[in-house]
């Protein structure tokens, strides 16, 4: 790629790139006569970008062309601020079939099966219109997956809101959850997990990140590219309306000024409206077309609509494309070309089809009641020149716009934005919460940290397709690797989404590394070997040097952790301008981790306690015999942040080499316990499983880990030797709590792997007891954990349960 490097200091933007190869553009006129000299700013382009477009075209752009560039050069589509950093991420691995840059990452799961995965944000639409914002987020990510030829089989959501006791936040939470439920359930893809976090920094700018996983026979993998001059571009699915015009440029690429202001209200038409029934038929029709090999290439229409789909498929295929804008089925009359092309109307796909196959394509579409229309054709680029995207009024009619296709996508501007480490960063690190006064009542603090999100996932179909071995609420979701049309397999998949914005706010590099580490350990707790990650980087304004520093640091932390843990990053999404009133959200990189369970024969033990079992802490940071090596830090802990409002300090140390040893040990122990060892031998039937329950120590520390194990299994626990609130609430990484009936064997394995261990106590009874610190009935802890979200039900509804 020959991306132009733009310097943006002091607003003096200039191009260093050689654009001459795009020369020779034909002067065309379209749109309102006499383009308003300031119109590009309303479309979200800077003056420098406007001038660069003129350099590319070797003439002034008309209104339509400006609209094409405005959406494609938006932050959302072009990653112009983040691309220079994203390049540092490790993306390769022996099982990676498709890395970043396509619609989804794809890995080889063995046995002729590939797994496609992608995560994307729909933050700003959800802030403006929570139901439709979240619903169309689900719809968009599904299309990214079936575009690859994969059948979507699972969704996950990472949701971040402000205080759930606040009525406006309740409106957002209810709307977002209902949108995911309404769309996901109806479109027929189970939502198998996710995460839900609350912090004041998301009050004006909630985050809605949606992850989708699909599966396909490896030989059906298709890529979104056009080829073969004369082939037809066929638009499938919904008609095109005025919804979502400029969604990527106006909505996704600027901050918020506050709730209910006239300005926010004016952004509402840029939120699209979803129709899951249309999408369901589109999925089935497209998978049938791909199965029958009736398409040369296929691409979904998401952000930037037809502009993006046509220019990206043409660019990837090294060809050009003519688009007949008059052939696009419209939802409302009298739409202009500059509205039709960037419209983000949902549930549309662009298929590249040979003229010979058109009739069969149309027949499949008719059967599924999916509209199809030939809207363009692939063109041969002039010798030695790049392919062009031409927008025509009638296939042989007037040329309304004519731009080099690659100028819109691959050659979009690239910014090296200034970075600055916050001046008070050292002072913040030195302000350690360890010095805070100890709580009078650790039990009360523990109860306040418990949160049960079953209110959310009860509204999601998480069982469809008969694959869900472990649904929402565990360390990771566990799925059978199966779907109609796939070869038989007894392997399983584990999937987790993780984030740690409180840590990332203190130290974005270490916080992001710890987030990757947690994801790997979460999937290991189900017996899976971590295979790959995807990320969704949610940050504030890239025009703030401190935000750009956070982003750069987060990328470096992710790179360090992924290299150490041997995890390629196979896809990602960047969401910037998550700010309101000039205040950015905490840096929130969300990591989706995919793991593979070689043989899935029995249910993994899960987050559970068993009566009469021994409860053991495995700790990679503790050397080989004692788990008390380091003083436990409370920096970035939920206890410090949520109970004391203390957001500074030094994070607990993460040793990635030790973490990898722990991940491997846990994968081995759990896969043996659930009979899924790679050798297929399984556990002996004579004794109890080596691991009867397992849970990693993360947000809320050891106290929350033990309480969650007790609540989920309904079995109590009694532990001793926890000295104080530091030990109870510290979130030191690389630790898991294991419940076992074969303790000596378990600790033998740990010692052999160089992992420290400590017997904490035993499972049983109906109380959660940490001697001298906590004593509460399991049932009381469970109902406390549920209460926070169940308040969203009206009183007469609560009576139902």
């Amino acid at each position: 790629m020959t991306g132009t490097l733009w310097a943006v200091d002091a607003g003096q933007e200039h191009s260093e790139g050689d654009r001459s190869r795009f020369g020779g553009g034909v002067r065309v006129d379209s749109g309102p006569p006499g383009v308003d000299p300031g119109i590009h700013r309303a479309l979200g382009l800077t003056d420098g970008e406007r001038d660069e477009i003129e350099t590319v075209l070797v003439r002034p752009p008309n209104h339509l062309e400006l609209a094409l560039f405005a959406v494609m050069w938006s932050e959302h589509c072009s990653y112009k601020s983040s691309r220079v950093h994203l390049r540092r991420l490790p993306t390769e691995g022996p099982h990676v079939l498709v890395g970043p840059g396509e619609n989804a990452g794809v890995v080889d799961a063995g046995g002729g099966i590939a797994v496609a995965i992608r995560i994307e944000s729909h933050n700003h639409p959800s802030a403006i219109e929570p139901y439709q914002g979240a619903a169309t987020g689900v719809g968009g990510i599904l299309r990214d997956i079936f575009t690859m030829g994969a059948r979507p089989i699972a969704l996950m959501d990472s949701l971040f809101f402000g205080d759930p006791d606040d009525v406006r936040q309740q409106w957002l939470i209810e709307g977002v959850v209902a949108g995911i439920s309404g769309y996901g359930n109806s479109v027929g893809v189970p939502t198998v997990g996710g995460e839900l976090s609350f912090d004041a920094c998301y009050r004006q700018n909630p985050l809605v990140n949606v992850l989708c996983l699909g599966v396909l026979p490896t030989d059906r993998l298709v890529l979104g590219r056009a080829s073969g001059a004369g082939n037809l571009a066929v638009l499938l699915g919904a008609s095109t309306g005025r919804d979502g015009i400029g969604g990527v440029s106006v909505l996704a690429s600027s901050g918020f000024e506050g709730e209910d202001s006239a300005e926010e209200m004016a952004k509402r038409p840029t939120v699209q409206v979803g129709d899951p029934y249309e999408e369901k038929r589109l999925i089935e029709a497209c998978l049938e077309l791909l199965e029958a090999k009736l398409v040369v290439g296929i691409q979904d229409l998401g952000g930037a609509g037809l502009v993006c789909a046509t220019s990206e498929t043409a660019t990837r295929g090294g060809v050009g494309m003519d688009v007949d804008v008059s052939a696009v089925p419209l939802r409302e009359p009298a739409m202009e070309a500059y509205e039709v092309m960037p419209s983000e109307s949902q549930e549309r796909m662009l298929a590249i089809v040979t003229p010979d196959d058109l009739a069969r394509v149309e027949a499949v579409c008719r059967r599924w009641e999916v509209r199809s229309a030939v809207v363009g054709r692939v063109t041969e680029p002039p010798p030695g020149q790049p392919g062009r995207l031409r927008v025509l009024d009638g296939m042989d009619g007037e040329v309304l716009g004519d731009v080099p296709a690659a100028a819109l996508s691959e050659d979009a501007p690239l910014y090296h934005r200034p970075l600055r480490r916050p001046l008070d960063h050292d002072a913040r690190l030195d302000d350690d919460p360890g010095a805070l006064v100890a709580p009078d009542d650790c039990c009360a603090d523990l109860l306040a940290l418990l949160s049960d999100s079953s209110w959310v996932y009860r509204q999601y179909d998480h069982q469809l397709f008969l694959n869900t071995v472990e649904g929402p609420g565990g360390d990771a979701a566990v799925l059978r690797l199966a779907a109609p049309g796939l070869p038989d397999s007894d392997a399983g998949l584990a999937l987790s989404t993780d984030s740690n914005p409180a840590w990332c706010a203190i130290d974005p590099r270490a916080g992001t590394a710890a987030t990757v580490a947690e994801g790997a350990l979460n999937v290991a707790c189900t017996g899976a070997r971590p295979l790959a990650v995807v990320n969704c980087l949610n940050f504030g304004s890239p025009e703030d040097p401190e935000v750009m520093w956070q982003l750069a640091e987060a990328v470096d932390g992710m790179t360090e952790a992924c290299l150490a843990l041997e995890l390629p990053v196979i896809g990602g999404n960047v969401s910037l301008y998550n700010e309101s009133f000039g205040t950015s959200i905490d840096p929130t990189p969300v990591v989706g981790t995919l793991g593979l369970i070689e043989r899935l024969r029995r249910r993994p033990p899960g987050v559970s306690l068993a009566d009469g079992s021994t409860v053991v802490l495995l700790d990679a940071g503790a050397g080989s015999t004692s788990a008390r090596r380091r003083p436990p830090s409370l920096g970035g802990s939920r206890w410090a942040v949520e109970r004391r409002g203390h957001r500074n300090g030094r994070l607990p140390e993460l040793d990635l080499a030790g973490h990898l040893r722990l991940v491997r040990l846990v994968t081995g122990l759990v896969s043996e316990s659930c009979g899924s060892g790679a050798d297929g031998t399984g556990p002996s039937d004579a004794g109890p499983p080596l691991v009867a329950g397992i849970h990693d120590v993360s947000g809320g520390g050891l106290g929350v880990t033990l309480a969650e194990m007790a609540i989920r299994s309904g079995v109590g626990v009694r532990v001793a030797g926890i000295a104080d609130h530091h030990e109870l609430f510290s979130e030191s990484p690389s630790r898991v709590v294991v419940c076992t009936n074969r303790c000596s064997e378990l600790v033998g394995h740990a010692a052999g792997a160089g992992i420290g261990f400590r017997v904490l106590g035993e499972g049983g009874g109906d109380r959660i007891i940490v001697e001298d610190l906590v004593d509460v009935a399991v049932e009381e802890a469970a109902s406390t954990a549920r209460r926070r979200l169940e308040q969203l039900d009206r009183p007469e509804e609560r009576d139902v349960r």
Binding site: R458, L464, L466
Partner: protein, 245 residues
């Protein structure tokens, strides 16, 4: 001979593959049956699976009753053929007049996906003839409109004719008389909101659904033993016009 089950696929259905898988796991054979066909010849039993037929536009089942296949389904039912409507399939059967009553939005106005306890309260149906009354089962539910309702005379008819085949142990959605599933007067048409096909594999959780589906497959392989019967019974309770209008 294992029974051959046709699983009807409407545009928007989504549990059709699960139903096929469950039938096959339990020893039956199963094939998908497109909603546009007008005959169900060659099948020993029919399943109308869960999902959102025709997007649940207007209301669940309201459009599916007009799908071409529904006339054949009605004739098959009238001849005593076993017809099982699961979740959305139950809603379709009610809209088509093959079962009385209707399913409205859950009390609480939220979608519910969870596993609930149900009790078998009648053995007079294809789904429960091999399951003793009083048997308690744990089976997943997954619906927004699962709150069964009917007029008082229909309810007493269902009660008197022993046609309430399944009741919730703890009512999750506000259904009248805790109804989770009912059958036609002949017992060969059954609709239920819980998903027995989701509870057949110990790897996934409870396996109580196989108890019901085995009964259904058993009844399907010796069909003819079922009393031939007419549509939904309970005079006056089915929508005017009946099926296939």
């Amino acid at each position: 001979m294992p029974p051959r089950v046709g699983v009807v696929v409407f545009p928007g259905s989504n549990c059709e593959h699960d139903a096929v898988l469950a039938v096959r796991r339990l020893g039956g054979t199963a094939d998908l049956l497109w909603h546009g066909v007008t005959t169900v010849a060659g099948f020993d039993a029919l399943v109308l699976p869960g999902g959102f037929a025709h997007g649940d536009y207007l209301r669940p089942g309201a459009l599916a009753r007009f799908s071409p296949v529904m006339e054949a389904v009605a004739s098959f039912a009238e001849e005593g053929g076993p017809v099982l409507g699961i979740c959305n399939g139950f809603q379709v059967l009610c809209e088509a007049g093959l079962l009385p009553g209707a399913l409205q939005k859950n009390r609480g106005l939220r979608f519910l996906c969870t596993t609930v306890g149900v009790r078998v309260d009648s053995e007079a149906s294809i789904l429960t003839k091999a399951v003793p009354s009083g048997t308690r089962l744990r089976i997943p539910i997954n619906h927004f409109e699962g709150n069964y309702t009917c007029d008082p005379s229909t309810l007493s008819c269902l009660q008197d004719e022993n046609r309430i085949v399944l009741r919730y142990v703890e009512n999750p959605n506000g259904s009248i008389d805790d109804i989770a599933g009912i059958c036609s007067s002949a017992g060969n048409v059954v609709g239920l909101m819980p998903h027995p096909e989701r509870a057949i594999d110990a790897l996934l959780g409870p396996t109580d659904g196989s108890v019901l589906l085995r009964s259904f497959l058993g009844a399907s392989s010796d069909r003819g033993s079922a009393r031939p019967g007419v549509s939904s019974g309970c005079a006056g309770s089915s929508p005017a016009g009946g099926p296939g209008r």
